[in-house]
Symmetry: C2
Subunit: 130 residues, 2 copies
Amino acid sequence: MTTTVTMSALEVADPERSARFYTEALGLKRVQDVTGSDFEAVLVGSPGGRGAMLELARHHGREGGVEHGSGFWKLCLSTGDVAGLYGSATAAGARPVSPPRPLPGLESMSFALVEDPDGYLVELVGPASG
Amino acid sequence: MTTTVTMSALEVADPERSARFYTEALGLKRVQDVTGSDFEAVLVGSPGGRGAMLELARHHGREGGVEHGSGFWKLCLSTGDVAGLYGSATAAGARPVSPPRPLPGLESMSFALVEDPDGYLVELVGPASG
């Protein structure tokens, strides 16, 4: 068995709000709710089980929003419909960063950028026709 | 085609150092080198192509190390050999955070925690026998 990147865990202000965003606006599926001694989290992932999961967590006593620092750059999601997801994400309140356009050096693909409800940068990548 | 979490991109002080750590100590495979107008990055992922990729990036002008903030919590890797990877990671200079022990509520699995060369928390999860 080889090593596999199975999940990234992000601190969010409100796991329920984030779970709604990633499922209703971005097409992921709610996989599991997790309650730890010092945190609550919702896991979301691909409806088909491919790729990795995303853990949307809030540690107790961490109210007041996320302090981003310079560490996490972006989360990348693949989709067959970049324009559609970009539209639903921004309609759900995501800050638009860059509308769909061809991926530099790979014109058959397009990408778009939004910020999720906590200000995490999310890149949507898929076929240019989508 | 459904939405899939395909990659998380992290800012690192030295993409080559990070790529060596994730390939030589943690068993991932170097997938691709990427040079953008304002960054350099190395993509690593599972040798079998499962799960997600990790983009280890350094933006120009961002010397001086990563400022972690409160956003990114942890990266989770699955492996068949938690104890072996914990050993090779700490031998490669990763800061040990928690040695292998049973996963609370799921005793057939074990987990361990280390910090990668930039201080990102990495959780190793796998069968308790591994």
